[in-house]
Amino acid sequence: MLARSSVRGVLTMMIGALQSSVREHSRGASARGFRRSVLFSSAAATVFVGIIGCASITFGAAIVGRTRHVGLNPQPAMELDVLKAKYRRPAFIPFPRENPYTPEKASLGKRLFFDTRLSLSSSQSCASCHSPGFSWGDGLSVGVGHGMVKLGRRSPSIVNTAWATTFMWDGRWESLEEQALDPIQSAGELNMPIERLMDRLASVAGYKLLFAAAFPDEGMNPKTLADAIATYERTVVSDHAPFDAWIEGAEGAIPEQAKRGFVIFNTKGRCASCHEGWSFTNDGFHDIGIPSDDPGRARQLPQITKMNHAFKTPGLREIVRRGPYMHNGSIATLEEVVEHYDQGGIDRPSRSDLIGPLGLTSQEKVDLVAFLSTLTSNAAATTVPVLPR
């Protein structure tokens, strides 16, 4: 058993080690950055020279100078209580000014979310891939769409999306409202032309009344459809977990092993560099070295090397019930996930500089999994709505 003071001591020591590691890393990376800058400047110069008489080449680019190392003040070791405060649950759900919460909108959105009539075949709904029974995923390696055809990526959980910045594994949508209409119309997913869907919903008397109540000035249209679904999705928030009780001061809420795992998560494991904050994600994009041909974020940012094979960092709430893991469901268990990070995955130019062999001990790996297990709640059952006819 590790006493509270020991946990604090280990935390201080590990943060110190991590800072040394980052400084070491910085020196090497500065040299690489300089080489990249020279290469980039050369490339820009080449384009500049080559532009004469060749209108198809993009003219101009910013000039990147050499990278210098600047001294940073060493970060003071963070007290355990200060660190824990960073994981405190927020007091309210944020709703955007352009689509504020109303109970009528959320109620309509819930019905639409669970309604299979949103698909061309009338056999699949949003909830088919984002089921409350699987912590708002589907428990499959990759999603299954129209005609039971497998998709290329795992269905992400929609839990805590109210706090998200970008949506989909490659971050191609910047709002839940934009995102909501994508799978409905996608040929591989619900395969439903939006005009046809609006005609279908307009033929349901109950929906006319619900849209009129939720959007008295706008009525039924693709925008209000998306607004309603997005509003409902923002209400899907992970329940209190044992970890939350510990954060709020109940020392006995999680085992000592999990407390040690929390320290490793924030230091030697480097997990919190990306899985940070109460929902355990900063929405960042990283190539974590998973074997896959999927370009990921590079579909949106093909010019940026580090975006190849990069995917959005998922939150970790309810994580025990959300396997299999990774963007392609290629890792079955949390133990294997920890093993992947300890090994560092495939070393390639796009791999995040935060990913690499960690040198975790067997005990540290067990502690990490014990900690991750405390992030899962005893979720209350979600009622399936009665759908309008």
Partner: protein, 110 residues
């Protein structure tokens, strides 16, 4: 609080804001800390280098895909400082490719 004090505070706030903008022009440096750029927008003269310093605890990847001023600093580790010189006048969207909340606009003037 007396109304006069509030007015004085407001004027001080506006002045401080103006000074921040001037400070940027003076040292041409954008810091990255706490997964944020130190400025949401900046004005710079074409051909004058703008320095991006990563004084955060994690790598950043400052970049722009704005036509005419494209660049990619790649993974910039904590403690690294890199100059970027914009060659075309106009509005340039600068991002951290890793952290989508990090965005700023650079207005490049002739």
């Amino acid at each position: 609080m007396p109304r006069l004090a509030l007015v004085a505070l407001s004027i001080a706030g506006v002045a401080l804001g103006a000074l921040s903008a001037v400070a940027l022009v003076a040292d041409h440096t954008v810091h990255q800390q706490g997964r944020k750029f130190s400025f949401q927008s900046a004005i710079i003269k074409k051909g004058t280098p703008l320095t991006f310093v990563n004084d955060d605890t994690v790598p950043h990847n400052v970049a722009s895909t704005t036509k005419g001023n494209e660049f990619d600093l790649g993974s910039q580790p904590p403690g690294a400082s890199t100059d970027v010189t914009f060659t075309e006048a106009g509005e340039v969207q600068v991002i951290c490719a890793i952290h989508p909340r990090m965005r700023m606009m650079v207005s490049v003037r002739d």
